[in-house]
Structures are given as C-alpha cells and as structure tokens.
Symmetry: C2
Subunit: 215 residues, 2 copies
C-alpha cells in the first residue's frame, strides 16, 4: 500500500520539514490569490511540484488552510503565555501582545489565519479554528478587564474594544506590504498611539459624542 505512512506516524524528520515547505507554499498562494481563487495546481506550481504530491502531506485543501492558520495560532498562544506571567499593567500587556500580533499577522501563516473563514472549513476543523480564535479574543478581553481593574485602561465595553482592535490589526495583514516604504514597526507604533490616545486633540468633551448629531 502506497498510502501507508502518509499522514500517520510521520516517520523521518525530513517529512515534517518538507511538510512545512508545502504549508508555506500553500500560505503564500492562498494569500496572493485568495483561498477560493487559488487552486491546488497553483499551490503545487509555487512549490515546483504537481498536485498529487500535496496529498502526501495533507488530506484536503481546507486542511491545508487550517494548518497554515494553526501555525500562526500556536505562535500566538506562545506569546500569550509569556506575556501573562509578567507583572505588567493590563494596558502594557495589551500593547505587548498587539505588537507581536501585528508582526505575526503580517507573515505568511498569520495572513492565512485572518484570511480563513470558518465556513470554508469542514465542521471538525472549523470547530477548532473558531475555538482558537475565541480563546484569543477572550484573552485580550481579560487583559482589558485587568487594565480597567488596575487603572491603566479607562472604563469601556471590553467586548467591543477587543473586536475593534482585532479588526483593525487584522486589516494590517491584508494591506501591509513588506516591500513598502514604511517599516512595520513604524506603522504599528502609529496604530498603538491611535489605540491608546485616540485621535481627538483634547479629551475634554466627556462622553457627549452622541449628542452632537443635531444639525
């Protein structure tokens, strides 16, 4: 049987190594063309190989997408852990996190992560994917909550703010061009300044934003 070792008891270390190259090719292709527009032939071509070769390393197209996302997700989980034990304020932990989040999201696997739509994944994978994202989201909400507790963050709806943060930074992964003029660091600093202080010149108008719609 040809299909003996594939996808089970991964043998040599070469297999894992090669699999990573396959994933990276898939990620780049998905990011460039979009998951649906990208065909497995495109992915294979990116790697200089033919389509069936891919099936030696992945069961299906959506598993490829899923696994690419997982790569980034795991990296992020790692970040979360060693950002958690530090005795920093909630705000500082949040800033720390998004600094790295931005970097991850602007790389191949990270872009794949934000590109992945749950509906494109078969139920088992989908569940894990949304679970992971949900966990990330909750962690950030916890940081915000902590920040409010320790006085570093002003009172706000943690849910809304967390989502807005993720959406803004995820966008980065879509438009940021590594070859572009400004280095990522600079843009992230700009984003963080925005996130921290907002855009209003002076914060002297309380919360009366809503009452200004009259005329």
């Amino acid at each position: 049987m040809a299909g003996r070792g594939r996808l089970k008891a991964a043998p040599g270390p070469r297999y894992e190594q090669r699999k990573l190259e396959v994933l990276r090719a898939a990620a780049r292709t998905f990011n460039r063309l979009g998951y649906h527009a990208a065909t497995l032939d495109h992915v294979a071509e990116e790697l200089g190989v033919t389509k069936p070769a891919l099936y030696y390393y992945a069961r299906s197209k959506d598993e490829l997408l899923f696994t690419c996302g997982q790569m980034a997700a795991e990296a992020l989980r790692g970040v979360l852990e060693d950002a958690d034990d530090a005795d920093l304020s909630g705000l500082d932990r949040l800033v720390r996190f998004f600094r790295i989040y931005a970097e991850v999201i602007c790389q191949d696997f990270g872009r794949c992560l934000v590109l992945t739509e749950p509906r494109d994944l078969a139920p088992p994978l989908r569940q894990e994917h949304v679970g992971g994202r949900r966990a990330l989201n909750l962690s950030v909400r916890a940081m915000i909550g902590d920040g409010i507790g320790d006085g570093s963050i002003r009172r706000c709806d943690t849910r809304a703010v967390a989502i807005a943060l993720f959406d803004a930074f995820n966008g980065l992964g879509r438009w940021y061009d590594a070859e572009g003029a400004a280095p990522l660091q600079v843009i992230v600093d700009e984003y963080l300044a925005f996130v921290l202080h907002g855009i209003a010149a002076r914060a002297d108008d309380g919360g009366a934003v809503g009452s200004r719609m009259g005329t």
Copy 2:
C-alpha cells in the same frame, strides 16, 4: 428573438423594481454563504425563481456582486456630500461620517460592499470598485487632515488612521447581528469613544510607547 429587450433600453419601472429585489436576494445570499460558496442557484432559490431568470437582470455573477456594492457606495457618496458643506470641525465631520457608515455597512448592500474583493471582479468592474473605495478613503483622509488643521484632531499619519478606522468599522458589518442584544447605535458610540479618546486611562505618557519593549 426572445432576448430582444433584455439589458438594453430598460423599459417599464417594473423592471428596475424587480431588479432591486434580485439584487437584494443576491446580497443576502452572498452575505450568508460568502460570495464564492454561494451559487447562482442559491440566489435564485432565495428569490423563488430559477437561475436563468437572474440573467434577465444581470450579465454575470460578479456584476451582481458589484452592483450590490454600488448600491451602498452610492449611498455613501451621498452622505459624503452633505457632510462636506457643513462648517463643522474635521473631527465632527469624521464622527458624523462614520456614524452613518456603520449603519450602511450593517445592511445587506453595505455588507456586500465590504465583502467584495477586487480580485473577484472582472477588470472593468474592478477598476470602478477600487476607484470608489479609494475615493472614500481619500475623503476620510482629507477630513482627518482638516481636523489636524483646525486643531480638533491631534497630529497623526492620516493614511494609517484612515485605514485603521475603515478596517475596524468594516469588521462591524461582518460580526454585528441585528437580532443581537445591543442596538447598533450603542456599539457605534462605544467605537467612537474608543476612536476619539483611545483606551488609555490617562494620556500622560507621551509617545514613549515604543521604548517599553526592553524586557
């Protein structure tokens, strides 16, 4: 010939009316299933009709998507115009704009607009689509620039801030559920407070956010 009058010299007002129903069905279907996963049979079913009937009102699938987006884009252009002549500060104009932007983006056609990826559109339509978005973006950047000029907005990179704003609000269209608990108004207020003042409790730490990564 049966195909005489179709798509040319649109006759009665009934045609335009029906076309709008078709578009709305398409928008709902695309939003629910995602553009690629949604088939024209799905759209037809949503309308209680068969696929060829759709071709009586649109030339192709991507034209359907494009036109849905255009609906929202035109509404937005209208908003832009009558927000422009008012003698408000740049900040106030910006707030005004995004308040309505959020509302548009959370409706059928608006969701379609943010869902549309240029690469899914044939070149002629694509060009118009990105042109429209670019114009919107530039208008917002202009507002921010004005705000900096009139002192209502603090110094910042107008490009980065504009993109971050759009990304955050666009996200709203993806996750906001009209049946959900919080009314949109409330969430938008929360978003705007975030945008205006940021999340930091006090704005006393200058721009030294970057130097805190040491450990």
